[in-house]
Symmetry: C2
Subunit: 148 residues, 2 copies
């Protein structure tokens, strides 16, 4: 498929993948200092005694990096990638040594009943590390323009 993609270009089952993003302690601590200032995201020593047993990225950091990877992935949507919401799971913590990538699959497609120029896609995005471990599952609703 060639970008940019419209609602009408997608089929249920279509898959897309992203490039990679390597995390490190500095990125994890910088995000946490601004948005999620808790010891297990900020301080490697304090994190050892926490529920995570070591420094872990904020789930919202994993989500933000996932978005960065999706925006630059093979799924280039006409007019941009716009989500109306979604469901998030973080089955395991994201660690400083993790290299993230995202695998996406189109789960559903529904034309808008009120707006004939738009449709809604349900997209499942799995964020994995270099060991194939799933760090985040996001099932999102995306608004896409239709070809007119």
């Amino acid at each position: 498929m060639t970008a940019p993609l419209y609602f009408d270009d997608l089929r249920v089952g279509d898959r897309f993948s992203s490039g990679e993003h390597a995390l490190d302690e500095a990125q994890i601590k910088a995000f946490a200092a601004q948005f999620d200032p808790q010891p297990f995201h900020l301080d490697s020593e304090a994190a050892k005694d926490s529920i995570f047993g070591g420094l872990a990225a904020s789930g919202w950091h994993t989500a933000a990096v996932t978005m960065k990877l999706m925006v630059s992935s093979g799924l280039q949507i006409a007019g941009g990638m716009v989500g109306a919401g979604g469901e998030l799971q973080w089955p395991r913590p994201t660690r400083p040594s993790d290299v993230l990538h995202v695998e996406m699959e189109v789960l559903g497609l529904r034309p808008s009943s009120s707006r004939p120029d738009r449709g809604m896609a349900t997209l499942r995005s799995e964020t994995k590390n270099q060991h194939g471990e799933v760090l985040q599952v996001l099932t999102s609703k995306m608004v896409l323009p239709r070809r007119t």
Copy 2:
């Protein structure tokens, strides 16, 4: 209630509120440049012709600011605020002039069957601007320690 709070301290219907966070163009563009580099989050002129009709924050930015406000709110959980996931909705865009605050309510409480020292709380968090408009609804599952 006095912090820190354990699973056993919470009741369904308990409400908490956060302080405020004032957004601006610079914050919106800085977050977008790092995590969601799309024209409607980066460029006020380009945003006018987009689905948003003007500069809007990345939904993930709204989510990250929401977490910052929750972490410093009246809901101070023993061991920290740890989410296993949740459901997100962005009913309207977050704008550069918005001042955000978060209103939280405990929707459900369930002791862990496998871990007697933990419980799970379902929390609804509404992120509103200074006009009371709801920008984000997050229903999240939080892991809390039990009093032993």
